[in-house]
């Protein structure tokens, strides 16, 4: 997260006061996380980029509707999550699963062999993740990749905390099983 010391509330006030360029501060601050979240949700970096771009434009246009600018991050993730769900609902069959997408989509290590090994590991985990139902995938990513509390996840998804805990628990079980199967096959 980019943090130039200016609280979100102040940046939002500047944008609403007519300084549209200040929205760039918010983009720099939240774009990496939103792209990571959307990429994990959609399994396709291009579709994720579209979803995040559309979400940020929508957020700009409706910024005055953000009821609590101090929780801007949750609001942006909520909009992006909605875009992802819409995308998944009308998903094109031509979408490329992330595991088949160009490997440059994610940052890799400096050592070529280590990078290859890491990419294989990433692909394995991505396959397990993408096999989860969207709600469980979202819950796991928000909790363990984006590092959110259950309270913030509730603000993002609109789901109740016990429901989210159950989704995260089920996602862990499914992922662990898939990872152990893959581990057993490789040995």
């Amino acid at each position: 997260m980019v943090n130039d010391g200016t609280p979100d509330v102040e940046v939002v006030a500047r944008v609403l006061g007519g300084d549209g360029e200040a929205f760039g501060i918010l983009i720099r601050r939240y774009e990496p996380g939103l792209l990571r979240f959307a990429t994990r949700m959609l399994g396709n970096p291009d579709a994720a980029a579209d979803a995040v771009a559309e979400s940020l434009v929508r957020a700009y246009r409706h910024l005055a509707q953000c009821r609590d600018p101090a929780r801007l991050r949750s609001w942006l993730y909520r909009i992006t999550g909605n875009r992802c769900r819409s995308h998944l609902a009308r998903r094109h069959t031509t979408d490329i699963p992330l595991s088949e997408a160009p490997a440059t989509a994610l940052a890799d290590g400096t050592d070529a062999w280590a990078a290859l090994e890491r990419r294989e590991q990433v692909a394995l985990v991505e396959r397990a993740l993408v096999a989860l139902p969207a709600e469980k995938r979202e819950a796991f990513v928000l909790k363990h990749v984006e590092g959110m509390s259950y309270e913030e996840m509730a603000a993002v998804t609109g789901a109740r905390i016990p429901t989210l805990k159950m989704r995260v628990h089920r996602a862990r079980e499914a992922l662990l099983e898939a990872l152990e199967e893959a581990y057993d096959e490789s040995n």
Binding site: E31, L35, Q65, A105, Q121, G158
Partner: protein
């Protein structure tokens, strides 16, 4: 899919020290947290330039219409009022509204709506509120443009505006911070941000069809 040990779930939820887990559960813990770390790679993509270009385009094509021009348009017109009443609250508000309708400033003091415009009156019961305003799709959800009044301090806040004919979403903002839907709206629509919040829905009919 088999359930995993509750102690592992607790450790993953940060409610238990992972160091206290037995060896097999600690392996599973490492496997899951390791998977999460692998998924945390930062994408090399950026949509910043694309988003800012679209924002600048939006700003150029809608210069200041959202604030100054609309405010002047609203303030500069003579006024007349029509009232929308819904069954809920009707009895409680009837006496107050009757008095409101008889106030001279409202009759003939609203802008004369154009053919593709209509008049909407907003009424809300907010006892003890210090301010109430209306934000909606017709003013880009901007605050400070449509304030309701409660001149006699009875908790019934009211105001009117000429709006383009058609469907508008709106909310009341009470005391500058509390967003509440209009209990009299009768129609509501999901606000599209996924947390189950609903905006009030208003349909403005063109004045031309009422004449």
């Amino acid at each position: 899919m088999s359930p995993i040990d509750p102690r592992l779930q607790e450790a993953l939820d940060g409610e238990r020290d992972p160091g206290t887990l037995p060896a097999d559960l600690r392996d599973a813990y490492e496997r899951l947290t390791g998977a999460a770390r692998l998924l945390a790679g930062t994408p090399r993509l950026s949509v910043a330039a694309r988003v800012m270009a679209e924002i600048r385009q939006t700003t150029r094509s809608e210069p200041a219409e959202n604030t100054l021009r609309r405010a002047l348009r609203w303030l500069g017109r003579p006024r007349a009022v029509t009232v929308r009443l819904r069954p809920v609250w009707t009895l409680a508000l009837a006496a107050g509204l009757t008095a409101i309708l008889l106030l001279p400033f409202q009759v003939g003091s609203l802008p004369t709506p154009g053919e593709a415009e209509g008049v909407a009156q907003f009424v809300g019961h907010f006892p003890g509120a210090r301010s109430v305003e209306v934000v909606g799709s017709f003013n880009d959800w901007s605050r400070g443009m449509l304030h309701l009044n409660d001149d006699d301090g009875d908790g019934i806040w009211h105001g009117a505006a000429v709006l383009p004919a058609g469907q508008h979403e709106y909310m009341f903002v009470v005391d500058g911070e509390r967003w509440v839907p209009d209990p009299l709206a009768g129609r509501y629509v999901d606000d599209g941000f996924g947390a189950g919040h609903q905006n009030s829905l208003l349909i403005v009919r063109p004045t031309a069809t009422e004449r």
